[in-house]
Amino acid sequence: MAEKFDNLEEHLEKFIENIRQLGIIVSDFQPSSQTGLNQKLNLMITGLQDIEKCRQQLNDIHVPLEAFEYIDQGRNPQLYTKECLERALAKNEQVKGKIDTMTKFKSLLISELGKVFPEEMAKYKAIHGDDPPS
């Protein structure tokens, strides 16, 4: 799994470095630089071909669109992961709180109903069995 990403990362780094060098050549162009520029342009195409080849290995990888929004805003996409984890934990705690409250309510209701309607509750317990202690 990690090899796929390493391969892509390596190709992307090479491509970016080539683009950077292209930018340097172009920023102060000299007539003697034309051969180097032509080589860099073809190297760029080779780099794109290499990245294109990596696509086949990464078809099963899904990236959430929200992560792209972070990148578009110039923000660290790890913040998206962080916020997802925090949201998941908060929701998890919220649901657990609800479940705990409802469990307590259930046991309290059964005990109170047992006091008022003992016969009916005995039959109910015969059907459902005794509830586990909350």
């Binding site: 990148i71 984890l85 998941a88």
Partner: protein, 242 residues
């Protein structure tokens, strides 16, 4: 709690569903208000008119009806810590344990150029790439000699506005500064005691050297001017100034 108890609505055992002639699938008649105290809450029609599969056939002859099966206890719910369940503690501690730096350049420090700016400003956003993919061929073919003639450039430097490749975010400088500023930063309450301790140690370490120097000076002066002992008393003050 989805169970509905008929007894809650004032129905005694004799007035249960079996006694009243309720059969499976038959619609329930409206509750008879025999005991107004117990019948204060009528049975809502939505709760009564459940589909046949939800009814428990065994419970039809019992005093309660519409008793459903309890939910499966093995089902994964929010009752369990899902981060632990999916082995995400490491990721949680990594991202939520410490402060994650805000800027994109902190995530991709090796990337050249200004990458912390908004992508929409210069049209380099990933969203625009998804929404409007570039129209191009499916394959990349190398440029031939004739094609490369289109890339013959004029000599000389580029205008200022196109020299974005050389501009780097000032991350290295800030890091460098930060390192230098660390000792000058206000220290937590524990550290001053440490620094004091170090100072004391330094003083202690320096003391023998100073004493030695003083002794040497005294010896030299005593050798050179044995007739003027009073000058030696003034020397420590000068040495202390140094």
């Amino acid at each position: 709690m989805t169970e509905i108890f008929s007894s809650l609505y004032g129905q005694t055992e004799a007035q249960g569903p079996s006694a009243m002639g309720f059969g499976p699938g038959k619609p329930l008649p409206p509750p008879v208000p025999q005991n107004p105290v117990h019948m204060a809450v009528p049975i809502p029609h939505q709760l009564v008119d459940e589909g046949p599969p939800l009814r428990k056939p065994a419970a039809m002859n019992e005093p309660f009806y519409l008793v459903r099966e309890l939910p499966m206890e093995t089902e994964l719910t929010g009752n369990t810590n899902l981060i632990t369940h999916y082995n995400l503690e490491h990721a949680y501690n990594k991202f939520c344990g410490k402060k994650v730096k805000e800027k994109l350049s902190n995530f991709l420090p090796e990337l050249p150029g200004m990458i912390d700016t908004q992508g929409l400003q210069d049209g380099s956003s990933l969203r625009s790439l998804i929404e409007k993919p570039p129209v191009c061929n499916n394959s990349f073919s190398p440029l031939t000699g004739t094609m490369l003639t289109g890339f013959r450039l004029h000599t000389g430097p580029l205008p200022e506005q196109y020299r974005l490749m050389h501009i780097q975010p000032p991350k290295k400088k800030s890091k460098h500064k930060h390192r230098h500023h660390r000792p000058q930063d206000p220290l937590p309450p524990e550290t001053p005691s440490d620094s004091d301790h170090k100072k004391k140690k330094k003083k202690k370490d320096d003391d023998p050297d100073r004493k030695k120097k003083k002794k040497d000076k005294k010896k030299k002066k005593n050798r050179h001017s044995p007739d003027h002992p009073g000058t030696t008393s003034s020397q420590p003050s000068s040495s202390s100034l140094r």
